[in-house]
């Protein structure tokens, strides 16, 4: 079993295999695992499809190479196969700027819990001025 963490999601998936450092998952479990599935027109999440490039070797009869797909769409991957945990990060912030996108002036939204587990989003405060302050115990 592998734990996959991306966005604000964390899922446990059975049937993972590692080949040459890449994570392969059963094709039939992909939609519930990562929200994408393999169709004739490409690898799709809802109505959004990434066309399959000619000659791509991201899948075989029953498994899909998640790591190769992640590289193709520009996700960063960090994995600890021995402990069964893998993380994906969508480029944003300064890394994304380096790739050529303009720095945003729109404040990116986020949702986080408070000490009591109640969720708060930045967008809940639309219509107010917000000083967003980060701090840490270290």
């Amino acid at each position: 079993m592998i734990v996959i963490t991306y966005d604000d999601i964390e899922v446990e998936v059975e049937g993972d295999r590692w080949r040459d450092g890449d994570l392969w998952l059963p094709i039939e479990g992909l939609p519930s695992a990562i929200g994408w599935d393999v169709r004739p027109e490409g690898v799709c999440a809802g109505d959004t499809c990434v066309p399959l490039p000619p000659g791509a070797t991201w899948w075989d009869d029953d498994a899909f190479n998640v790591s190769a797909f992640a590289r193709h769409i520009g996700l960063a991957e960090a994995a600890d196969p021995g402990r069964g945990v893998v993380a994906y990060v969508v480029p944003s912030g300064p890394g994304a700027e380096a790739a050529g996108g303009p720095a945003p002036v729109e404040a990116p939204d986020f949702t986080l819990p408070d000490l009591d587990g109640n969720l708060h989003s930045l967008s809940d405060h639309r219509g107010e001025k917000v000083v967003l302050l980060t701090w840490a115990s270290f």
């Binding site: 912030g93 720095a103 701090w135």
Partner: protein
């Protein structure tokens, strides 16, 4: 005001700082001096009156390209950034700290308090005058300043390792987590928060404690003045 704790140790680690019970045990004297806190001010100044959120994966820092704490961003009523991430009323006065006595020279304390006051005066001015405040920056300047970050390193891969480390730490595997905290710090050397987080969680006795050991001081010295809290040109609004 929204306060976000960038703490992979989670609520358990942040709670004593958000709801502190003992001023003198938790805050070293130089911090109390800079904050202007004493036994009289403490009971009304310390309890936060705004949401205090916990960000175990350092997602807010990643989204905004922040590399240290405390860092603040000003966001207007339309959700637009009018001041980009910058050290929030803090400077590098700690470089003058006498490590033997843990005291700071009076002029360094005074400079810190002055900067802090100027910063909060500017916040109040913005709250009162909105876009007419001289502290508000035009969009191009916001973009320019936000583009100054990440001069070297690989922030996106670093964020992936930080995220993996946090997941391992939460699964009670601190040794495995440490390797990835360290990798995150290595991949984005400019990110002080990653380095400090990695060091803090490398030692069970240091969890929740200020990172102020020899390695911290060594890296602060090596990187030179202005690297930890770059000077902020906040206008005088009073």
């Amino acid at each position: 005001m929204l306060a976000v704790a960038e703490d992979a140790g989670g609520a358990e680690t942040a709670r004593p700082w958000i709801r502190p019970t003992n001023m003198e045990e938790q805050y070293p004297p130089p911090v109390l001096d800079l904050m202007g806190w004493d036994a009289e001010v403490w009971p009304r100044a310390a309890p936060p009156q705004y949401p205090c959120l916990i960000d175990q994966r350092h997602e807010v820092s990643r989204l905004y390209g922040m590399v240290n704490v405390p860092t603040a961003v000003w966001i207007d009523e339309d959700g637009r950034i009018v001041r980009p991430p910058e050290p929030a009323g803090v400077n590098e006065g700690f470089r003058h700290l006498d490590l033997a006595t843990f005291s700071m020279p009076a002029d360094a304390v005074e400079a810190g308090v002055r900067l802090r006051r100027r910063y909060f005066d500017a916040v109040r001015d913005w709250v009162r005058r909105g876009a007419d405040s001289p502290a508000v920056l035009p969009p191009d300047e916001v973009r320019r300043r936000m583009g100054r970050g990440a001069r070297w390193g690989d922030p996106v891969r670093a964020a992936a390792h930080l995220r993996l480390a946090e997941a391992l730490y939460r699964r009670k595997d601190p040794d495995a987590a440490q390797a990835h905290f360290a990798e995150a710090a290595r991949l984005w050397p400019e990110n002080w928060a990653y380095q400090r987080q990695a060091r803090q969680l490398s030692d069970p006795a240091a969890v929740g404690e200020l990172d102020a050991g020899p390695e911290f001081w060594r890296s602060v010295e090596q990187r030179g003045e202005g690297s930890f809290y770059p000077p902020v040109d906040i206008p005088d609004t009073v």
